[in-house]
Amino acid sequence: MWRIDINTDLLISLSLIIVSGLLSFTLAKQRAVFYLRNNEPLRSMPIYHGLYVSLWSTLLPIFLIIFLLFFKDSYLNYLVIPFLSEETIDLGIDEILYVKSFLINNISSLSTLISSGFISEGDANLLVEKYQETRVISFSSLVLLSIILSFVSYKKLSVRYDARRRVERILKFIFFVFSTIAVLTTVGIIFSLIFETLRFFSQVGFFDFVFGTHWSPQTAIREDQVGSSGSFGAIPLFTGTLLITAVAMSIAAPLGLYSAIFLSQYAKPKTRDFLKPILEILAGIPTVVYGFFAALTVGPFVRSCGEYIGLTVATESALAAGLVMGVMIIPYVSSLSDDVMTAVPLSLRDGSLALGATKAETVKKVIIPAALPGIVSALLLAISRAIGETMIVVMAAGLAANLTANPLSAVTTVTVQIVTLLVGDQEFDSAKTLAAFALGLMLFVITLALNVFAMIIVRRYRERYE
């Protein structure tokens, strides 16, 4: 029995196209080598002849395959829907999807569908036949296209043909396409965030969200439930994030910077080679490990310290989470700052030392100003790492959305709330789940603003060396 599996078919035609590309590569290259042997004035090297033909024979068909992948779904709809019984279509999109997934997985499950009355036996046979036809036509035509293209471009090649510059042009185009893909993906993510956020704001007021001070995102499943109206004030989440990030950075910034200065300016090369990887291990420890370290060791320690001097400290506190997070992000600060400070030209350092500056004066007045942009981006990276950190906060700072500036109390952060909003069984269009998108968008806007702000600062104060 044939499977209705577009993915496999695509793979088969893809490999055929690649084979055709490789074959034409060898052929064209061999012919060019033959020209060379005969001392004919070959304009481009043989490899460019090969590349030219193989690029022509593979690129367009591969793009078509990618295109087909995008439209696979509507193609299946077009194929399947005419054969479904009226009742099935009336039942709605979920049922159509169900039938389609059966068909895609295995044609033998057709019998299941027949017995459950989604499709009649005659229709099933017709469906299979029609599918066979279309796929034979579409996929063999892709392979055929590849062969034709390679043949045409092979014909164009001659001794004086400028294949090198044409290959260069094709490669330039490919690089352009790839860079666009990265940009488009980002744009796509942002737009999906924006649209879901707009849906959220149709249910919850914008100002209630941005300026609200109470966060309890429960929505009712039934109308008559207790506490059915959730409130979505995001301020406590952002202050919580800010608080924990501030605690973390007050640990990571000085420790990281000073260790970077030591590593790059004072340490002997051997010491540096030994210390730097060890410091970087800190970044490789899974955050869960940091999390339970924070919850089981640092949290209780902070609490007993606080009690010793007469302060009430919650078991889960922003301080404990922030401290551990600060240690975790030290390598982000130190490693990058070390790299940029090492990159400051030795001639500048020597110039300063020769004027009778001490090492510390040289670091302060020459090295750090010159390395400022790199140091700032190291700090920014650490901050965004701290803002995005979830596990440590869940385990050590709790889930309670308290609006407080006291690092000794339990707080929660934006990312933690996004997780709790989305875990478990959820309706996808309730305000509760959509709130996650709104939080995500707001977080994105804030980190973007942070980056732009830092860039402006750096541009103002940096000392550019050539």
Binding site: K268, P269, P345, S347, L348, R349, D350, G351, S352, L353, A354, L355, G356, A357, T358, E361, K365, V366, P369, A370, E463, R464, Y465, E466
Partner: protein, 272 residues
């Protein structure tokens, strides 16, 4: 008998390239090692006060290494070890009690490639005086900067652009800025490590003129690859080869009638 002894002494001095005239820097048996490799072999060299001494020799002969011994910039290189004695004003600069930072603040240095700090022209020159705290008032600092730039022959060119970054000047101006920066700390000695090798002929001529003026106030030691430059600017010339000091003497003598064959081969361009 005494006369004979003096004669022997003179002969020895000549052998060891030691001068009779008053010297500011006296080097005796200076060996330098980079790890296991020896870069300098028992250098005996005296550098006279308020004159220009040029160090010449083929690449890798150790002349720059020797220059960097005088202000102990070799300390910066981890694997570098210096043996022997170097005395400045009869003070052994490699004595354990010597404060390297203080020593360097008495010696200006100009490097091969202009290396102005990525700060304003003003801050470049003010860097040293500010560090050493010899100046308390802003007005005095302004005067110091102006005077240093003037002595480096740069004041008229940059007096309207003191706030611009030093790196925005042309190559020759940058190098003169570096000289001004070195002068600003009131050194008695200025070391120059091929100061013109990155500059065009016009900028080079300006720097050479400047060196000639500066020698009235400073003791200058210059490493150079250009024999013409050595002949133009220096009163005494030392020829290095393979880590050894082959010959030192008045510049005129070194270029006209050197004692050693190797020196003659080098200065006439047949070798090196």
């Amino acid at each position: 008998m005494k006369l004979n002894g003096d004669l022997i002494m003179d002969e020895q001095k000549k052998q060891n390239n030691i001068r009779n005239k008053k010297s500011l820097i006296e080097c005796r048996g200076v060996d330098v090692f980079y790890g296991d490799k020896q870069a300098l072999f028992g250098i005996n060299l005296d550098i006279g006060e308020k004159e220009v001494t040029s160090l010449i020799g083929p690449s890798g002969c150790g002349k720059s290494t020797f220059l960097r011994c005088i202000n102990r910039m070799n300390d910066v290189i981890e694997i570098c070890k210096v043996a022997g004695t170097i005395k400045i004003d009869n003070e052994d600069i490699y004595h354990p009690d010597v404060d390297v930072v203080e020593l360097r603040s008495r010696i200006g240095m100009v490097f091969q490639k202009p290396n102005p700090f990525p700060k304003s022209v003003y801050d470049n020159v003010a860097y040293g005086p500010k560090l050493h705290g010899r100046i308390l008032h802003k007005d005095d600092l302004d005067a110091k900067v102006e005077k240093s730039l003037e002595r480096a022959g740069l004041w008229s060119e940059v007096k309207d652009r003191l706030g611009e970054p030093g790196t925005s000047l042309s190559g020759g101006q940058q190098q003169r800025l570096c000289i001004a920066r070195a002068i600003a700390i009131d050194p008695s000695i200025i070391l120059m490590d091929e100061p013109c090798s990155a500059l065009d002929p016009i900028a080079t001529a300006k720097i050479e003129e400047l060196i000639d003026e500066l020698k009235d106030n400073f003791t200058i030691t210059i490493v150079t690859h250009s024999m013409q430059q050595a002949a133009r600017v220096s009163q005494r010339t030392a020829f290095f080869h393979l880590g050894k000091l082959i010959e030192v003497g008045d510049t005129e003598k070194i270029f006209r009638s050197p004692d050693h064959e190797q020196t003659e081969a080098y200065v006439t361009g047949r070798y090196g």
